[in-house]
């Protein structure tokens, strides 16, 4: 009886191990994508930009997303300068509209605008709302597992597909084995795959609505020597969000 229990325990221990060994780059990225793109989400975040001269700029915004990140709405709450400015991204950010409350004008932006920095931060709009781009725009390849930021991680290299217009030629992603949170992502230059542009580090991982969530994200810009820190102040998953939230009518509210 005891032996059976031990065998059972060993079996339980070895199943994840053998399962992990069998995981391909595609499997890992799919799990990351599933984790990152929940059906619906609401968040309130504080974004702090540290400029080259060491000055800080702080923004607070709310965001809503639906259909696993296919629809996104971001509305700024602070500072006063940008209060009520809002960005609507549909079709995995292939369609972008920006609302300027001072002129009450909505401007449709082309996808090249995704390359622009979000409020001067080290995040581009593409970094913020590209839906399942990890799967659709990149080809993954699993590399040797590594320990990074104190976590045992899978390492996956994602190489941009030839027909993709994403801004990065390749990404290297370190994914925590335990929960599939991509704890570190390195972003490489659009035309030079050997030139690293940015590094994203996620930390303070907590379980929110049964999902592991990094409450703090830092994007380090290697070129400009700047960094942007994003702190989640509030987050809710799988909430009821009507499609009418992701319309021009809602953008202007």
């Amino acid at each position: 009886m005891k032996n059976i229990m031990i065998l059972g325990l060993v079996a339980l221990l070895t199943v994840p191990l053998s399962f992990a060994q069998e995981l391909t780059g595609e499997d890992i990225v799919q799990k990351v994508n599933d984790l990152m793109n929940v059906q619906t989400a609401y968040g309130k975040a504080k974004m702090t930009i540290v400029t080259t001269s060491g000055q800080k700029r702080t923004f607070i915004y709310e965001s809503w997303s639906k259909n696993k990140g296919e629809k996104n709405l971001v509305r700024y709450l602070e500072p006063r300068r940008v209060k009520d400015q809002a960005v609507l991204m549909l079709n995995n950010a292939d369609d972008i509209w920006m609302y300027f409350p001072r002129t009450q004008r909505v401007r449709k932006l082309a996808t090249h605008a995704k390359k622009q920095k979000m409020q001067g931060s080290d995040f581009s709009y593409e970094d913020m709302g590209s839906g399942d781009a990890f799967i659709t725009d990149y080809t993954p390849e699993r590399l040797k597992d590594e320990k990074i930021e104190g976590y045992d991680c899978y390492t996956v290299e994602l190489t941009r597909k030839p027909d993709s217009d994403m801004s990065y030629s390749r990404l290297i992603m370190w994914v925590i084995k335990e929960n599939f949170v991509p704890v570190v992502i390195d972003y490489y230059h659009e035309d030079d795959p050997s030139l690293q542009e940015k590094r994203l580090i996620q930390s303070d991982i907590r379980i929110i609505d049964d999902l592991p969530t990094a409450m703090k994200v830092v994007m380090l810009n290697k070129n400009d020597n700047t960094q942007t820190e994003m702190e989640l102040l509030e987050v809710k998953y799988n909430i009821q969000l009507d499609d009418s939230i992701f319309t021009e009518r809602s953008l202007k509210k």
Binding site: R57, R81, T103, R105, K108, H112, E248
Partner: protein, 396 residues
């Protein structure tokens, strides 16, 4: 003076009333601005201070009240003689003894710019009161917008409010029908608008019809009754279409308006624009504008053309123009740019280098120079005065 005190006290009392309500927000900005221009060898300055106070109160999730009061003071050269900027041939059209009327005054002002209530019903939004009306997809010019004329030196500056009743009816998530009524003395003279907006693939488009009385003036005749230049009101019916989307990776937009005039010749306006952001963050925009009300030969520009353009009664006096804008983030806080506007019809152009700097979270500095390179009599003639502007804005 008494009127000024009343105007100042009213918003304070009104804001106190609103403060008594829940969820009232008070915000706005203070803006200090110095403008200068070289005119006839002398550098003249106009200094202005503007305080904008915004109030926003949500009485419920469905009812919102918003308003803003503007207080503006002017200092320095507050009386600009328009004739100083015009060619002698144009000035010679000024009737004898009327020279003193061609002065652009900058007087201290305080006014209720916007004040409206917006009610979100289940199937439509109703907005009643003085509100901004922003129409069209163009950046510098908006052929379908008969309510506003943008300043090409500062095209994103906020536009004044217009008294109107507006109904926005969403039809699904991709279509909207908008009707607007802007009352005048009677139904005939009031502005009416009907707009249908939609989306096909990655393109937004809209169809628009507007009827509005256009209040031109004849700047060669003075009306003693109104103590102003003679008004020549004329009914204008506009039928327009606009679109914005993406083509071959470029942002593209177009706007067209055919204007059917009651007594003068019909005309059309057209805007075609494109933009792109390079990987190194440089942003480039080009916009072409045609207005068949404008002229193709600068020798035909007359006093009325110039005055109507300066009074923002008409958008252009030359028929074809191109606007080019390039901007690059020099640092994470400083954006530098240059815009150029070229009048194809008379072969003159202006260069406008710009910079904007974020001094802190809520303080911006914006500056531009305005350099004209055309011969006398043309749209961007050197004698229009080279100059510039610097503006600091503090948001609260």
């Amino acid at each position: 003076m008494k009127r000024g005190i009343i105007l100042l006290v009213f918003p304070l009392l009104f804001s106190s009333f609103l403060l008594a309500q829940d969820k009232v927000e008070i915000f706005g900005y203070f803006e200090s601005q110095l403008m200068g221009a070289e005119v006839k060898g002398e550098f003249l300055q106009l200094y202005s201070n503007k305080l904008r106070v915004d109030l926003k109160s949500s009485f419920s999730e469905k009812i919102t009240f918003a308003a803003n009061f503007d207080y503006i003071t002017y200092h320095g050269k507050t009386q600009w003689n328009i004739l100083d900027f015009l060619a002698p041939k144009v000035v010679s059209e000024v009737p004898q003894g009327m020279e003193s009327f061609y002065v652009l005054p900058f007087s201290d002002r305080h006014f209720l710019d916007n004040a409206y209530i917006k009610i979100a019903f289940k199937h439509f939004d109703l907005t009643v009161g003085k509100q901004q009306i922003s129409l069209g997809t163009g950046y510098v010019w908006n052929p379908t917008d008969v309510f506003n004329v943008k300043d090409y030196l500062d095209p994103t500056y906020e536009q004044p409010g217009h008294n109107a009743i507006r109904l926005d009816i969403p039809l699904g998530t991709s279509y909207t029908l908008t009707t607007l009524y802007s009352p005048d003395e009677n139904w005939q003279d009031s502005a009416k608008m009907l707009q249908f907006k939609g989306r096909i693939s990655h393109f937004d488009y809209s169809f628009i019809a507007i009827e509005k009385v256009w209040r031109f003036h004849d700047y060669t005749q003075f009306d003693m009754d109104s103590m102003n230049f003679l008004e020549l009101p004329e009914k204008r019916q506009l039928f327009g279409v606009s679109t914005a989307g993406e083509l071959l990776g470029l942002g593209v937009w177009a706007e067209y308006a055919y204007n059917k005039m009651a007594s003068t010749k019909d005309f059309y306006e057209l805007v075609l624009g494109t933009d792109y952001t390079f990987d190194f963050q440089t942003y480039v925009m080009i916009e072409y504008y045609r207005n068949t009300l404008g002229k193709t030969d600068f020798k035909e520009y007359n006093l009325n053309d110039w005055m109507r353009m300066m009074a923002m009664e008409q958008k252009a006096i030359s028929q074809d123009q191109v606007y080019v804008f390039i901007q690059h983030p020099a640092t994470d806080l400083l954006n530098i740019g240059i815009s150029s506007i070229y009048s194809i019809s008379d072969n003159s152009f202006a260069l406008v280098p710009t910079l904007s700097y974020s001094l802190s979270d809520n303080v911006d500095i914006f500056a531009y120079f305005n350099l004209n390179f055309g011969q006398e009599g043309k749209l961007f003639a050197k004698n229009m005065g080279n100059g510039g502007m610097i503006r600091a804005r503090i948001y609260f």
